[in-house]
């Protein structure tokens, strides 16, 4: 089944749209048998991805990540707090994922989306198990003061592959994060150093200047859909709703497997399917690493 021609034959276009809505699975299978998807992508290719760092000027670190139409805005705000007794020289990273009603017609105010807490938990598990950021870097005065980083991710447009986009925006925001310079004043309280205070001797700086977090082993992910014996990388929301079996693979930049997530689904995956997904993810990690590096170096030039 070819795509409708652009010379505007409206009646056949309407028929294609009707077929797509009435028999979505058959519509997709006709495309899959030609190894292509309705938006023209080959089965293993992900959508165009962009990252924009520093999207929110008032936050300490922020990033806007777009995979196709799926848009995620992540921003980090730092606050000082007293560290817990068990880990007195570690700061804390709190991750929160929100799906406001603007992102999708199925999210209603008062009835949060089903996907939101799932992605939220997946994200915090992945980021804490990937050991990307050393929490000791967030400490200020051992036992007394440490940074609490609140990472809030807002989904602005939900068009499939929510976890991938959320993880990418979180990682980009963390790489953009600049920890503000603070000093300890006479009452023993931590205050933010502003540029005018530089000459004052009484304040003893705890952080000399704004610094960035050192990130090792950055995690990247790819979600694939399994359908019969096809593997589709980076599904759109329409694909996710028709073919329900998802596999999410998270690899880090040295191709070590951080997490693998297959939450049930009608299709059973054999080992070769999983290995194929991992191979697709490995390729995707290289693409994403390049995109993130370009975004970071773009920021440094400014």
């Amino acid at each position: 089944m070819g795509l409708p021609d652009a010379s505007g034959d409206l009646s056949s276009e309407v028929e294609v749209h009707a077929f797509r809505r009435l028999f979505p699975l058959r519509f997709y299978e006709r495309h899959l048998s030609e190894s292509i998807r309705p938006d023209g992508r080959p089965l293993g290719r992900a959508r165009d991805t962009t990252i924009a760092l520093g999207a929110v000027a008032s936050a300490d670190g922020s990033a806007l990540a777009k995979i196709g139409s799926t848009t995620m805005l992540a921003a980090i705000k730092m606050e000082v707090m007293t560290p817990s007794m068990e880990s007195p020289d570690e700061g804390c990273l709190a991750i929160d994922f929100h799906m406001p009603p603007i992102c999708s017609p199925i999210v209603r105010p008062g009835r949060p989306a089903e996907a939101a807490p799932v992605v939220s938990k997946q994200l915090s598990d992945t980021i804490s198990s990937s050991v990307m950021a050393d929490l000791k870097e967030l400490s200020l005065v051992s036992g007394k003061a440490a940074w609490m980083a609140y990472l809030d991710i807002y989904c602005l447009d939900a068009d499939g592959a929510l976890f991938d986009a959320a993880l990418l925006s979180a990682v980009a925001a963390l790489s953009h994060l600049q920890i503000p310079a603070v000093s300890l004043n006479e009452d023993g309280r931590v205050v933010v150093v502003s540029e005018e205070d530089e000459g004052k001797p009484e304040k003893e700086p705890v952080n000399r200047e704004k610094r960035k977090l050192t990130l090792k082993s950055i995690p990247f992910s790819l979600t694939c859909i399994l359908h019969k014996n096809y593997i589709l990388a980076d599904p759109t929301a329409e694909e996710e709703s028709i073919m329900e079996t998802l596999v999410t693979v998270v690899l880090d930049s040295s191709s070590q497997l951080i997490s693998l997530y297959k939450p049930g689904g009608p299709v059973l995956a054999n080992t070769s399917a999983i290995q194929d997904s991992i191979a697709l993810t490995r390729q995707r990690v290289r693409e994403l690493q390049k995109i993130l590096d370009e975004a970071n170096s773009g920021m440094e030039v400014d």
């Binding site: 505007g8 921003a75 705000k77 406001p100 009603p101 603007i102 992102c103 809030d152 602005l156 447009d157």
Partner: protein
């Protein structure tokens, strides 16, 4: 007035959407509708139901907000936006349906109410919902014996009066008028006129953006 920037069609999934910036205040609005009423008991047989929700992102203000929606200010602003937009949507053309307007504040630096109304207008226009007229909004205040247009957060918290006006430019009517703090009546006239001038400037900008958008759509459609 601060620099305005607007963009239509930011959210692909929504029927209509817009991002509106006034200086450092950045707001995204999405409109879903007309669609089937989700709560049958609220269905109105002769007009469309308009619903609005205003929420602020946790990172939008200087200190991180704990409760972005459900607090009094958000509920009040949701109500204000709903009533303002309901006045200009031709609801009798779409009975038994629902129009949802969702507004999310990404960065707040004063004038969020105005930015939300402007963004909602653009999003409604993008969704193709029949409107009586565009609603534009602008705020003004009075500090140090000078009327000021489009206050930012610092000017707003200085304690002077803050007048927000919602204006229909073609019909030349005021639909929303809110003021807090004290102001003598003759100065109030000046401040309100200033806000109306601001609204007219915003209306011109919005019209340009919509014209540009229509030209793009025509071009893409091959006309």
């Amino acid at each position: 007035m601060r620099q305005i920037r607007a963009e239509i069609g930011a959210v692909a999934k929504a029927d209509g959407s817009a991002v509106f910036e006034m200086g450092n205040t950045k707001v995204i609005a999405a409109v879903y509708g007309p669609r089937e009423v989700q709560n049958r008991s609220q269905q109105m047989n002769d007009k469309a139901l308009v619903r609005c929700e205003y929420s602020m992102a946790n990172f939008s203000t200087g200190d991180r907000m704990r409760k972005p929606k459900g607090d009094r200010r958000s509920t009040e602003i949701s109500l204000v936006i709903r009533q303002t937009m309901e006045a200009c949507i031709l609801t009798h053309l779409m009975p038994r349906s629902q129009i949802d307007i969702f507004v999310q504040v990404l960065q707040a630096d004063g004038g969020t109410r105005s930015a939300c109304i402007n963004a909602a207008t653009l999003a409604l226009a993008d969704a193709g919902i029949p409107l009586r007229d565009l609603v534009t909004s602008c705020s003004s205040g009075y500090l140090n014996s000078t009327p000021l247009l489009d206050l930012n957060y610092v000017e707003d918290s200085a304690g002077g009066p803050d007048v927000t006006v919602g204006f229909l430019p073609k019909l030349d009517k005021v639909t929303l008028l809110q003021m807090d703090s004290k102001l003598p009546i003759d100065i109030f006239e000046n401040v309100m006129q200033l806000a109306i001038e601001g609204c007219k400037a915003v209306a011109n900008y919005i019209r340009e953006i919509l014209l540009e958008n229509t030209k793009q759509l025509e071009y893409r459609r091959g006309l």
